[in-house]
Amino acid sequence: MRRRARIRSAIVMLGAAAVALLPACAGTYLHEPTCGGKDAKALILAAQAVPSATLVPCIAEFPSGWSYDGSRIGSGSAQFFLDSDRAGIRALEVTLTAWCDVSNAIEVTAGVNQPGVRVYEEPISLPPTFQVNRYLRFPGGCVTNKFRFATGASATLALEAQQALSFVSRSVLVERAREETGLTLCGAEAPPCPG
């Protein structure tokens, strides 16, 4: 009897925790935000999350050993995560917001072939546990790339990861939305929306 009661209690507690926590874990595993892909759902949603952003980060191509690990998109920010077989799970977190604080970062010149984008770097820790925040500011938005590598992973993997990332212009997404639905993707580079 006592054993059965214990099993029942355990099931109840597990179920209760899951049920109660599910609405709290409201982030979502969305479609992959691929640059120039047929499926622009995640990119359009990201553009809706930050209506002022003129650029939206996307995945151009994966270097060997890197893979997509989900997104979280909601009003105000759009995030996606990349895993590496050497740098670890969610070794890179890419976040689009309307603005970001670069007061602790240093402006650098290297790395992005996108006009109007200014790059800042904020080292958090050096190898063997490489951690850096890289900010890419542009009109109406900012992308924060958080590199959080596993201990022992080479810092050169950050260069690989950067190859995976690119931008899609908001105007392209506005056009895409118009073609598919006949409606306006409100925000920057689009006609004003009602409301």
């Binding site: 409201a26 969305l30 009003s75 409301g195």
Partner: protein, 515 residues
């Protein structure tokens, strides 16, 4: 409504232009609503939208879980947990499958997260509120009122989300309907009101309410099918019965018989399901100890009990006289009617003398001799009237049982009698009817699950080590294992484990992507 939303789902999924049509239709409605926006109204609507916040939903769910645990409404608790999980998982999977953006062509002024179709906050709130209504509110007028209140709250949330432009009308509507439908179906299916009503009175889930329409149906059926006018229906012995609803019927006088009591056991489909799960559990935990084939219908259930009752009665065992089976609702509810042992008391409440011990043991001896086993010898199933021991509840009776089962019957009877007297007396009386070797076998076989729960708890309360004493008096005998291994048991156990694992993986998969 279901057809409408089904067609929307299929249309949007497989026909891109149709998705565009829905977008434009929704946007037109949203633009009209947005034309009503004002600063003060927006403040109010943002407040209403807090209904869908994760903290509100958390509080509602934890509150419900706490209440259900507190009132020990386990069945309702499991259905509540299951329906909440199902609602969250289904809503999430559909949202990813459809991948619908937030409304285009309108300025969004409220917070949102993820894809829009279906509206997951609407699903979450509607599922929580409907689940609460069906898990906590008693059926009848209170539940009717609760449904209207819940409907009003859900409508307010839907309107708020359309005003803020965070959901399309079809998202919010689909979400609300999904959130209502999943717990509604789950509760109606697994906790039907007439079988598992929400009640704050004490009682077992297996016991059906015999008032109202069911009471009327019972009176009508007994009169039509058995020819007795039922004057009164009273549930009796509920604490000793978990598998049916035992009733005492007061029936009017007939030409041959005076007014008197009859005993009846009411069975519904829920009892068949419970029997099925019970047998599955036993076959996994212990293997094929005996015939574990489940009954397929309520009719078969009562047919079997009627048969065993007549069998024992014909063999001259002190069991109630059978009166037959009454059909209350075809294929759903049946009642078996038998003699009521008026004036009899449960053996636990009676005094047992040497003659009583002999009678109890003779019942087992006779069953052995005619090739039967009762399989549920416990205090609640042994009555005493005028010093005579009577046996009831013959549902588990087995014809030509295994020697193990017959031995267990003997051990259980001896234990019941020993609780009411002492081990030595019972052992000495038993020697008059059974050999030492048979008694030794009985106590080698009776271990753990072999004794009914009520008997085990009675032995525990008694405090004496009656099992040990009786076992010590009998010749030494190697314990009989109750574990039976077979390919079927292994496959069945593996099947259940695989299903459980799949369910767990489903939750974990969704958990991972949420976290």
């Amino acid at each position: 409504m279901v057809v409408y939303f089904g067609s929307v789902l299929i249309g949007v999924l497989f026909f891109q232009p149709l998705g565009g049509i829905f977008d434009r239709f929704d946007t037109l409605r949203l633009r009209w609503i947005a034309s009503l926006r004002s600063d003060s109204l927006t403040d109010i609507v943002l407040f209403v939208n807090l209904l869908a916040s994760r903290w509100t939903i958390r509080a509602l769910r934890w509150g419900t879980i706490a209440a259900l645990v507190g009132f020990r409404h386990w069945r309702h608790l499991f259905v509540f947990l299951g329906s909440m999980l199902a609602a969250e998982i289904v809503a999430y999977q559909i949202s990813v499958l459809l991948g619908r953006s937030r409304p285009l062509g309108i300025t969004i002024i409220g917070p949102w997260e993820g894809y829009s179709m279906p509206s997951r906050p609407s699903v979450g709130l509607a599922a929580s509120l409907v689940g609460m209504t069906y898990a906590l509110v008693v059926p009848g007028r209170p539940r009717e009122i609760a449904k209207w209140v819940v409907g009003g709250v859900i409508l307010a949330l839907v309107v708020a989300r359309l005003y803020l432009g965070v959901d399309h009308p079809t998202d919010a509507g689909f979400g609300a309907i999904m959130g209502i439908a999943i717990p509604l179906v789950a509760f109606r299916w697994y906790t039907p009101n007439d079988v598992f009503p929400v009640t704050y009175r004490r009682g077992k889930a297996a016991h059906l309410d015999v008032g109202g329409k069911r009471g009327e149906a019972i009176r009508r059926a007994v009169l039509d099918q058995l020819g007795y006018e039922v004057l009164d229906i009273k549930p009796v012995g509920l604490e000793g019965s978990g598998g049916s609803t035992p009733l005492r019927l007061r029936v009017g006088a007939t030409e041959d018989e005076p007014e008197r009591y009859l005993f009846a056991k009411l069975y519904a489909k829920s009892h068949v399901r419970a029997d099925r799960w019970y047998k599955l559990g036993r076959s996994i935990l212990y293997g094929a100890l005996e015939d574990e084939t489940p009954f397929q219908s309520v009719r078969r259930f009562v047919e079997y009990e009627d048969y065993t009752l007549r069998l024992l009665y014909d063999q001259g065992l002190p069991t109630p006289k059978p009166y037959g089976v009454v059909e209350i609702t075809p294929e759903r509810e049946y009642m078996i009617v038998m003699e009521f042992f008026d004036g009899a008391v449960e053996i636990g409440d009676a005094e047992i003398d040497d003659a009583g011990i002999d009678e109890g043991l003779q019942i087992v001896r006779k069953m052995w001799d005619v090739g039967l086993a009762h399989r549920d010898i416990k205090p609640a199933n042994l009555m005493v009237r005028d010093g005579k021991v009577l046996v009831i509840d013959v549902f588990f009776v087995q014809v030509r049982p295994s020697p193990w089962r017959q031995a267990v019957d003997l051990a259980n009877m001896m234990l019941v009698l020993a609780v009411k007297s002492d081990a030595k007396r019972v052992y000495e009386h038993a020697l008059a009817l059974f050999t030492e070797d048979e008694i030794a076998e009985a106590f080698a076989a009776a271990r753990g699950v072999a004794s009914p729960t009520q008997l085990r708890s009675m032995l525990k309360q008694d405090g004496r080590d009656l099992v040990g004493e009786l076992r010590a008096m009998a010749p030494e005998r190697k314990p009989v294992s109750i574990q039976r291994w077979s390919v079927r048991r292994i496959l069945r156990t593996a099947g259940v484990l695989v299903l459980a694992l799949l369910a767990l993986l489903l939750v974990l998969q969704n958990w991972n992507v949420f976290a």
